[in-house]
Symmetry: C2
DNA sequence: GGGATCATGTAACAGGTTACATGATTCA
DNA sequence: TGAATCATGTAACCTGTTACATGATCCC
């Protein structure tokens, strides 16, 4: 018998669904929610979610106690599973929305989803999120700068060192681009 | 019975291992290769590879005919599985190394691995890869610029439109950062 | 007649993560 | 004595992708 594998780490998609349940307030079932991730919808520009995974996440949200499902018979069609966010689900959503992402690479997906939802659910929260994300990226930038500074003094330029320097320079460039973008968005 | 599920898409990790087999030329078994992905090794700054996945990929490389395994008994320890790259494996590696990545988000991981290996296996190939990647990113940049231009004329500024514009602006910023970095590296 | 729409999924596969199994040997 | 090294993995879980099942109804 194994230990119950100490994992946590709820994926962005699950939180996105949780946010949509909060926005759509009331009647949301899988097929309905799927439209948010369909062609030319704003969220679809940022996160892809196939029906298979959508239904999967809905079940997990229910298992976690963040949503409840009620069955709505449809006559001929399969019964609708209408989901509703719970109080603990709402608390979890808020917690997630207040938390900036830790890495620059997560801006493109996770942060954009947070921003989309926060702006539509609570503009004040969105403003705070933006400010916190800006600070986080600034700190990342400073850390990269000091890592680079610690690197260059050693004059031995093995190709491995050159490579590591380039990696840091790329990260710094990406992080600075994010910082400038955040500053422009957060006016 | 299902169709054999039309997938392909070999992951970066597998190609990284293939590249290391080509570099280490001869005696490389799992435990040995693992050192490349250990603390403070240059590749570890870019890609994480736990032993479990390393051994998994080695088996898949053998299954694909890109490497062959020969058993080297060790007495008391488990026998070493020594892997060697094959001719088709070498061809596949070369093909992969010549191909720039299609998306800006893939620069951070997949492109950096290609660059690391190409520079160590064939500097000319590395130079061509850099040039091709630069062109690809330039085209991406142009595409994003025209997408933004197509967006702004419509004056109706729904919050959804604002969001989509921001997404494009972030991508453009990230792509431009990559372009400048590539230009600096590729001197 | 034939495809899109509604509404739910399952099956089979993939990569990836964490924890653990095995068992002798070397070193602090 | 007990941790690290060598060398291989497996087990159990996860997200994610693609293909397909079901079956009525609506619209061209």
């Amino acid at each position: 018998m194994r230990k119950p594998t100490g994992r946590s780490d709820v994926p962005t998609a699950a939180h996105a669904i949780l946010g949509l349940l909060e926005m759509d307030e009331g009647s949301s079932h899988g097929y309905d929610l799927a439209r948010h991730f369909g062609d030319s919808q704003p969220l679809a520009q940022v996160i892809h979610l196939e029906p298979a995974m959508l239904y999967h996440h809905l079940k997990r949200l229910a298992r976690a106690g963040w949503a409840t499902a009620t069955v709505e018979p449809q006559g001929t069609r399969p019964a609708r599973q209408v989901y509703q966010i719970t109080t603990t689900g709402r608390a979890e959503l808020r917690r997630w929305l207040s938390e900036p992402v830790a890495h620059t690479r997560e801006i493109r997906l996770e942060f954009l989803v947070k921003l989309y939802l926060a702006e539509r659910l609570d503009p004040d929260l969105a403003a705070r999120l933006l400010a916190d994300q800006f600070d986080t990226c600034r700190r990342l930038e400073a850390s990269l700068v000091s890592q680079l500074a610690a690197l260059t003094p050693a004059d031995a330029d093995s190709s491995d060192r050159v490579f590591v320097r380039r990696v840091l320079e790329l990260r710094l460039a990406q992080t600075r681009a994010a910082v400038r973008w955040l500053a422009r968005v957060g006016v």
